[in-house]
């Protein structure tokens, strides 16, 4: 037995040493910080951003912990399209839990969870109610923060060890947590909103035109019915109505709930209008959803696009992710839906003092493209 254990140890030692070196590199990049530690760092330095590259973001737990820790009076949630709303827009405490909801089940579970916030802004994407989307497996059902446990999947990134080492040698922003945040100055702020990475903003400043960075381009996806969002599938209108009934029950409990029907870029919006086979998606988003919301007396922001405000698509990050300035412009218009929690004058200041169409605060940029170029 002793001989066996000695041999086993001899066999395992090189593996342990190799994995320890990997852990050390990951730690140096800020990838291994636990979620509570991330919040502690962000509270000490409010400009600190969080975005890992190699290890799992543990995104869901990060956002759930953010809700638990911040105890916001105003809470927003939805898909990644909701991530640009910032605490600066509101007079009360706010947390952006955008990115937690990916389908109808997530939405219903969220609405049925014990939400403490008084005002809730729920971003709903129409494709959640497509028949083919409804088949999605029910994962991560609970809306409760759970302490992360040691997970072997962290070693999946070993395949990129050479890239990790190379990232370690690059110039990095030490106040940020995680490789992506350190390299690109993009990631989650303390309020849960997502700061667009510098290089994307610089690209807009340089090109001075809208560039859809999604691949394939959103308009192509719409035209060809690619991905679950734009697949040619029918909608289950009854399921949408059932979700709205859940919203209604929260309203009846005294919560101020605003449904945010997510906007599209001009290009995406007009592709939707002109693509015959996407007629169902367009009608569902612009006619059916508002009709159901009206019938239940639920407050909502309708599906819009920048040209309604005489703006071009440079106010969009890609075909369907609005910039924080565009969201601010929309919220200013619909400020009356939020019981005095939005100050339109303050919003106006933010909108007018914008650094570029994607970001209003220049001080958040660390690498700025030379505008004279």
């Amino acid at each position: 037995m002793k001989y066996f254990l000695r041999k086993l140890l001899f066999f395992i030692i090189p593996i342990i040493l190799f994995l320890l070196s990997y852990e050390y590199v990951m730690h140096s990049l800020g990838e291994t910080s636990t979620i509570p530690t991330v919040f502690e760092i962000q509270e000490r330095n409010r400009n600190s951003l969080f975005m890992r590259k190699y290890l799992s973001q543990d995104f869901r737990n990060y956002k759930l912990y953010g809700i638990k820790r911040n105890k916001p009076e105003i809470l927003s949630s939805g898909s990644s399209r909701m991530m640009q709303i910032r605490s600066e827009f509101f007079n009360s405490t706010y947390y952006n839990a955008g990115g937690l909801l990916h389908n109808m089940r997530d939405l219903n579970n969220f609405l049925e969870s014990d939400i403490k916030a008084n005002t809730i802004l729920v971003g709903i994407d129409p494709w959640w109610f497509k028949y083919d989307n409804l088949k999605i497996r029910d994962k991560n059902k609970e809306f409760e923060f759970s302490k992360g446990k040691f997970d072997l999947t962290r070693y999946n990134s070993l395949i990129d060890y050479h890239k990790i080492i190379s990232d370690l040698t690059k110039e990095r922003i030490s106040k940020n947590i995680g490789t992506n945040a350190q390299l690109f100055n993009g990631g989650f702020r303390l309020d849960g909103s997502l700061k667009t990475p510098d290089y994307r903003i610089n690209l807009l400043l340089k090109e001075k035109k809208f560039i859809d960075i999604e691949e394939p381009k959103t308009s192509k996806r719409i035209k060809n019915g690619l991905t679950g969002r734009f697949s040619i599938s029918k909608f289950d209108t009854l399921k949408f109505e059932n979700s709205i009934k859940l919203v209604k029950s929260l309203v009846d409990e005294g919560k101020n709930i605003i449904v945010y029907l997510m906007p599209f870029s001009n290009e995406s919006y007009h592709t939707l209008v002109n693509t015959e086979k996407q007629k169902d998606l367009f009608e569902f988003a612009t006619v059916h959803m508002p009709k159901v919301l009206d019938s239940y007396g639920i407050k909502y922001i309708p599906t819009e696009h920048p040209s309604l405000y005489k703006l071009d698509d440079t106010y969009f990050i890609d075909g369907f992710h609005p910039s924080e300035i565009f969201v601010a412009i929309q919220l200013k218009r619909y400020a009356s839906l939020f019981n005095n929690e939005i100050d339109p004058v303050k919003l106006d200041t933010l909108i007018n003092n914008r650094f570029c169409n994607l970001l209003f605060n220049k001080s958040e940029m660390l690498t700025i493209y030379n505008e004279s170029d």
């Binding site: 037995m1 072997l152 999947t153 070693y155 070993l158």
Partner: protein, 324 residues
């Protein structure tokens, strides 16, 4: 109450006569058994994590979009499913057998390189052996086995296949899966060829003969064809896949999104098949593979397997057979 963790209902389906006496026997630690057990666990993990789970990713992608993809893509999906099913279940069996061996218990062998079978009868002697021998002992023989009239003999065999299909789930696709294998078996039975291939293929040779290769490919194709019923969501889904495969789109270039990314899996599956072929006389793939190599090379080989497992671990694929 006695709990024996390594072995689960999914298999190997162990007999009381083999397992219970081992609980009463005094066991002492045996170095070679423990090392062998660890090696088999390692190979089982490789089959499950690296082969099966990687194939599963493409299988899911192809079968959930079967309506939009052409016939050749669906054939690739079926090939991947073959290796997913084999890697998954035989991998689990290896982990169970290896863990038991580490503690000094011997469980029965459950897979014996089924994809090198030369006919369907041989395939079923090599696939989920513990289940098939259970069916033989508790259904086939009580029904009279082969010591009855020919028509009754055929009926007995067919019933065993039907029930083996039904064992996988109360769904018509599984019943048909069993029935198809029953039909595959009939010609062998009628021409008394069902015990023609009892030896190890290409024994004492490096490569198979052309005839053996042809028979292996033929058997593999038949099994693959039947997997459609096994993998499809329902009967109509199976029919639509059958139609697609037997259409002109079979001759088109595969059109699924992950084709390029799947090449690495093809390479890994090919290496895996080569190792299994070299080891076809042994209990499992790496039982003796590399045993005569110098230690640094042998350890290097094991380290590569461990590294591959770490690279692919955690894709959250359930063991397929746990649902049955």
């Amino acid at each position: 109450m006695l709990v024996f963790k390594p072995q689960l209902v999914a298999g190997p389906i162990e007999r009381a006569a083999n397992l219970l006496p081992q609980f009463y026997k005094r066991r002492k630690f045996e170095y070679h058994k423990a090392v062998d057990g660890l090696r088999q666990i390692l190979w089982g993990l490789f089959k499950k994590v690296v082969i099966a789970d990687n194939c599963a990713e493409y299988v899911d992608q192809i079968f959930s979009n079967s309506g939009e993809l052409n016939g050749s893509s669906l054939v690739i999906g079926l090939l991947f499913f073959s290796f997913q099913a084999y890697g998954d279940f035989s991998g689990y069996s290896d982990i169970a057998i290896g863990t038991s061996r580490l503690f000094g218990f011997n469980l029965m062998k459950n897979f014996s390189y089924p994809f090198f079978a030369r006919d369907i009868a041989e395939f079923w002697r090599k696939w989920h052996i513990s289940l098939m021998t259970w069916f033989r002992d508790y259904i086939y023989i009580p029904l009279g086995g082969s010591r009855v009239k020919k028509s009754r003999y055929i009926f007995n065999v067919f019933i065993v296949f039907l029930i083996s299909g039904l064992w996988h789930g109360a769904n018509w696709t599984y019943v048909l899966f069993g029935a198809i294998h029953g039909l595959y078996f009939m010609p062998l039975l009628l021409f008394k060829n069902n015990r023609a291939n009892l030896d190890i293929i290409a024994e004492n040779r490096v490569l198979p003969t052309f005839r053996e290769l042809r028979l292996m490919i033929y058997t593999f194709a038949l099994v693959n064809f039947s997997w459609i019923l096994f993998r499809a969501e329902d009967l109509s889904h199976s029919i639509s896949i059958f139609k697609k495969i037997f259409s002109l789109s079979f001759f088109q270039f595969p059109d699924f999104d992950g084709l390029k990314g799947s090449l690495i899996i093809f390479v890994m599956v090919s290496i895996f098949i080569c190792i299994e072929w070299i080891s076809r006389k042994d209990e499992y793939g790496i039982e003796k593979f590399g045993s005569n190599w110098k230690k640094p090379f042998r350890y290097g080989f094991y380290y590569i397997i461990i590294l591959l497992i770490l690279l692919y671990v955690g894709k959250e694929e359930q063991f397929i057979y746990f649902q049955f």
